[in-house]
Symmetry: C2
Subunit: 225 residues, 2 copies
Amino acid sequence: IIETRGLTKTYRMGAVEVDALRGVSLGVEAGEFLSVMGPSGSGKSTLMNIIGCLDRPTTGSYLFEAREMSGLDDAEFAHVRNRRIGFVFQTFNLLPRLSALKNVELPMVYGGVPPNARRERALAMLERVGLADRAGHRPMELSGGQQQRVAIARALVNEPAMILADEPTGNLDSRVGAEIMGMLDSLNKAGVTIIMVTHDPRVADAGGRRVILKDGMVESDEAVG
Amino acid sequence: IIETRGLTKTYRMGAVEVDALRGVSLGVEAGEFLSVMGPSGSGKSTLMNIIGCLDRPTTGSYLFEAREMSGLDDAEFAHVRNRRIGFVFQTFNLLPRLSALKNVELPMVYGGVPPNARRERALAMLERVGLADRAGHRPMELSGGQQQRVAIARALVNEPAMILADEPTGNLDSRVGAEIMGMLDSLNKAGVTIIMVTHDPRVADAGGRRVILKDGMVESDEAVG
Ligand SMILES: Nc1ncnc2c1ncn2[C@@H]1O[C@H](COP(=O)(O)OP(=O)(O)OP(=O)(O)O)[C@@H](O)[C@H]1O
Ligand SMILES: Nc1ncnc2c1ncn2[C@@H]1O[C@H](COP(=O)(O)OP(=O)(O)OP(=O)(O)O)[C@@H](O)[C@H]1O
Ligand SMILES: [Mg+2]
Ligand SMILES: [Mg+2]
């Protein structure tokens, strides 16, 4: 489903250059479940942002479902992202002035789903992450783990082909974390491709394969668990 | 150092009331190191905000260093918070338009430390958390774990009597997480009181005592490790 070749990402800050990615080549088959690990600052979120069509590499190629992403203009890029990819952000990125419910509805608004269907699907998803009774709360009125679960619900609601989850269990206790992993697992069994960044030893080998990044490059890429 | 009796916190949202804390009584001696655990939404951050003089309880009393905090006006409250307490927030709460360095300097600005001393101490603290080369980056130009470490550095920089750390290692790999725990440990040996909320099994029993919250109340409070 994805094929990256020689991805680099360089941030320029005045006279300084930060090489966040220094040549990443990775192939993922549809239906795989990958864990991405590595030290803080090694480039995991940067890689996820490129794979998730939220950012463009400095050099290198990225094929998603056999299409070269660098050839797309911003509108087509956003369209692929909305329709095919669900992204759980490391820092949640919920809209502060919208309720949990409206936050979860948002990808469906872009996707043109009618209001009643949106609301129903969003409520069902909030129920699945245990937050049916928090639907009206805004992010500031939710605990850290509740915000994280709203971000997870939002990523699943358009039934994407691929889910990118950046540290999805970091703020969750073991029981709720296991429930979320259970959801990702059944989605994966139903054919959804999952790429998960994690530092959490409790979920690190959930998928069959582990990629370790170090200093912006792939250090290892092995079958596990 | 702290004594809470019957703390409650109720959020009113229109017709609905959320009882985040339903009667928490806790005594902590100066120099202790406590872990606070419990399910997502159980009231841990709410309790930390009250103990950290960032919020007031609905009912109940809170004595910090033998002073009843409810008797203080907002200015005195803020003064105690700035001088005696270092807070690492679950969602970091860094100022987006300031660099890492300026974010770490901020508590010293309130504390009236002169500019050169501030800068020097802030740089030293960033070095201790491994971010000397990221001093000029703003939060959006930092990885999740780097933002978390800036939040940690900021909490330590006024040499507080008590550190409240809400999920301090959630975004950190094992090596960096262990370094942070090492810092907290040596501060504790030097007499600093530490209260740490965590879901991370790798650090859960770092202190000698574990308090478990459930539904806004203390479920257990035991010696561990
Ligand atoms: N401003 C608010 N208005 C309404 N309800 C709130 C508000 N802040 C928190 N809550 C609710 O209070 C409860 C306790 O929240 P708190 O942030 O203390 O939980 P927590 O134990 O820190 O959870 P986590 O492990 O997910 O961080 C949650 O159910 C939350 O929805
Ligand atoms: N906008 C930016 N400008 C400059 N440097 C950046 C920017 N964004 C990220 N960086 C740098 O790029 C490097 C990689 O960042 P990235 O967020 O991908 O790390 P990560 O592996 O996700 O780390 P963590 O585990 O801490 O979340 C970091 O050293 C970071 O400081
Ligand atoms: Mg990251
Ligand atoms: Mg919390």
